[in-house]
């Protein structure tokens, strides 16, 4: 028997900013209040639309940062020269409104399955956002699905959710690609076969993988997983521009 997925909400509606949290110098989490929010799945996103005074509109997709059952929240990284993210990171304030459509997406989503297949989360930079929602979902449920996050990031200054992830050292590993914290045991390095093989569930355990980050990271990481013996259909990907 197959459950019918909830119908996506496809009409634009006003969302009110109820709070903001600085994650790092170029990243901010916006807490939202959305009338009639139906709840979301871990990994889903929303479209945000801004309208200029002259009527020009710009729309971008942003992953939902919180777990299902939590109020909607977006973590946005400023893209220099961008049309939408600089406004969301630097300008918008509590009480302001944006237009929003969602939650949407049924491919890059995770919920506990009956077989408790182990889950490997691979994040490149801001790609950590939907994967953090999956970690939080598992934790809130008290679910025992084996889950591990490998988070590739350029430097300590660019880590998002630093404190939250530091509290889960048993299932979260950081891989610095350009600069490490002082005394870090590993020199900066790109994700490679050795680093991945040390973290990945063996293919015999029928793992699922979720890979999210810049296109080059996703292609690279998905290729490494295939080399390790992961089934391509069990490697779900989401590419950020």
């Amino acid at each position: 028997m197959t459950a019918t997925p909830p119908q996506p909400r496809v009409n634009w509606q006003a969302a009110t900013i109820t709070g903001t949290d600085a994650e790092n110098a170029r990243t901010r989490t916006l807490q939202l209040q959305v009338p009639g929010w139906p709840g979301h799945q871990a990994g889903q996103h929303v479209d945000v639309r801004l309208t200029a005074e002259n009527g020009y509109q710009a729309t971008r997709a942003y992953s939902l940062a919180g777990a299902p059952g939590e109020d909607p929240a977006l973590t946005v990284v400023r893209a220099e020269g961008g049309e939408v993210s600089p406004y969301l990171v630097d300008v918008i304030q509590t009480g302001d409104q944006v237009e929003l459509r969602g939650p949407i997406g049924g491919y890059f989503v995770w919920k506990p399955g009956p077989r408790r297949r182990p889950v490997l989360l691979l994040a490149g930079g801001s790609g950590v956002v939907p994967l953090r929602a999956m970690l939080r979902h598992r934790a809130r449920l008290g679910d025992d699905t084996p889950m591990r996050l490998l988070y590739s990031v350029r430097s300590p200054e660019q880590v998002i959710y630093r404190r939250e992830l530091a509290g889960q050292a048993d299932r979260v590993s950081l891989l610095y690609t350009r600069t490490t914290p002082p005394g870090w045991p590993r020199p900066p390095a790109r994700l490679d076969h050795t680093a991945l093989a040390g973290q990945a569930w063996p293919p015999e355990q029928a793992p699922l993988a979720y890979v999210c980050g810049p296109t080059t990271f996703v292609e690279h990481a998905a290729g490494l997983l295939t080399d390790l013996g992961y089934t391509p259909a069990d490697v779900r990907t989401e590419r950020y521009g």
Binding site: V10, V46, A61, Y107
Partner: protein, 88 residues
């Protein structure tokens, strides 16, 4: 702007089809690649949405959100399948 992927088109696809389509599988008319629309190449952001086959680059589908509705075309898809895992 580098290509992203079909996940970013989820909103437009849902507005067009009334359901999630990122997990739906499309069959490329040029190379027979059978893959979720989430895996398609998307160049953007732009006024319209164009999805290309990740394997061969063929233009699969276009959508433009216009006042009052959406105008779509699927010149490069011979099949679109919403069964779980595309029926595989």
């Amino acid at each position: 702007m580098p290509p992203i992927d079909g996940n970013a088109a989820a909103g437009t696809l849902a507005a067009f089809f009334g359901r999630d389509m990122t997990a739906a599988h499309g069959l490329c008319a040029a190379c027979d690649q059978h893959a979720p629309l989430a895996e398609a190449l998307l160049y953007g952001p732009a006024a319209g949405t164009a999805l290309h086959c990740r394997t061969c680059g063929n233009l699969l589908m276009t959508m433009i959100e216009a006042p009052g509705g959406i105008i779509g075309a699927m010149p490069g898809l011979t099949r679109l399948d919403t069964r779980p895992a595309g029926g595989v």
